[in-house]
Symmetry: C2
Subunit: 261 residues, 2 copies
């Protein structure tokens, strides 16, 4: 069969473009996104009923529903039977599901996440020191004070820690950074809980947060960045220690409660 030679290339090279039919659902999704983008659909606003939208889009209810359902699952829309469909109020759920998917379908190393997180939270700290409003800074102060008296309650401490970092990200006044930090932190939640189990972890963490807070209050962007990045670097080291020290063999997803035999 080696004589299946190449001389058979007499097929003329026509300059045509492949025809591509975008699916109807795809099209509808894009249109709705555009409507939201242009402001014709505002957050919380209700959409016409599915049957009405069918005729507006000149599509079947099947195709329309595939589009609406997709947007609902992603958190862009909220739909409930009897009530109708409306634009979601908070776009955060969207990013949450998204990163959850991303993290699930494509493995990202914890170290990769931390590398990005260190950079972003560094920016956030610097920006907060530079531009943060007094109210935001006050809130950070309160949170650190609460952390200081919660060093014996790991669960509460973790919640306060999360609140601190997100509040600081918000104070940076860069919404993209706030979004990214939120979703990345969500992926690291388990790791955070582990780190806090280490002895002295919480008191040390309080001191580090105090250092960040001080730099932010002093309106020293670079110091704030350095303090934040130092905090997260040691947190990364503590995570590695926790990972190796504590039941190291398996670290993966879920503990399979083997039950008390």
């Amino acid at each position: 069969m080696t004589q299946t030679k190449t001389r058979k290339i007499k097929t003329t090279r026509l300059k045509v473009r492949p025809i591509r039919k975008n699916s109807i659902s795809d099209d509808i999704v894009q249109q709705i996104i555009s409507l939201i983008s242009s402001g014709d659909l505002k957050a919380g606003q209700r959409l016409p009923s599915e049957r009405d939208l069918c005729v507006k889009f000149a599509a079947s209810r099947t195709s329309l529903r595939e589009a609406l359902r997709c947007l609902s699952i992603m958190g862009v829309l909220t739909a409930r039977a009897g009530e109708g469909t409306s634009v979601a109020m908070d776009g955060v759920k969207f990013m949450e599901t998204v990163l959850q998917w991303r993290m699930s379908t494509e493995l990202h190393d914890i170290e990769d996440l931390m590398e990005v997180r260190i950079a972003l939270e560094g920016i956030a700290a610097a920006s907060a020191a530079e531009n943060g409003k007094e109210a935001d800074l006050k809130r950070l102060q309160d949170l650190v004070a609460k952390m200081e008296v919660s060093v014996n309650d790991a669960k509460r401490f973790a919640a306060l820690d999360l609140d601190f970092h997100l509040s600081l990200a918000k104070a940076s006044n860069n919404k993209l950074i706030h979004d990214l930090i939120t979703v990345i932190r969500g992926q690291l939640e388990r790791g955070v809980a582990k780190v806090l189990q280490l002895p002295k972890a919480m008191p040390l963490s309080v001191e580090e947060h105090k250092a960040i807070l001080q730099a932010v209050f002093a309106r020293q962007p670079e110091e704030a960045r350095a303090a934040m990045q130092a905090h997260l670097n040691t947190a990364t080291l503590r995570y590695r220690a926790a990972k190796n020290k504590l039941h190291s063999p398996e670290e993966s997803s879920h503990l399979k409660a083997a039950g008390k035999s």
Copy 2:
């Protein structure tokens, strides 16, 4: 006046949770994500036909399709008539649609994007200098060489520039950073084109890329980071200039306001 007094609050505060019925499509989506996450479904692998999946999930084809369609639109699956449905090979499309949606439904300032980009590409340059493989570095060198002889072809230059930055991000060996840079860069594409219209923009850009390249080849992470961030900072300044000089008023549509949310 207000005799609708408050004493009527004897309604006991019960700790109950609202009833929530997850839709079938939602459930199927979660299950498929889990299958991909657990490795039971690998990238490129084909799923059973829709009609088969119907019986496996014990759901109607409508519900099943709403789930599959959602995953297809988001880029997690790829489906074509006659061929079947399979797990997408390239997860980048997913992040692209995601950020596109996010950018559309929630306004992000160009400056916010650049701030994040500067940090991430700084990391990428440093990591590439530290860990980049020789082949990756060689590719960067080739790209800069091509850029140097393309200073009169803005379109080609822009493509080479994009290639350079993404290749460097890839060389950093941090997939999350590569993803984020890719999508952020996608949002900035128009801005990049504008900047290159400025006089001397391309020759200057070449020099800056050479500086980055040199630092990376010298295996000097901090120098590489500094060179990259200097490059992007001047690019930002050039963008502002281009925005103000050229027909400015229209189209940016992002005005930064202290968003409270």
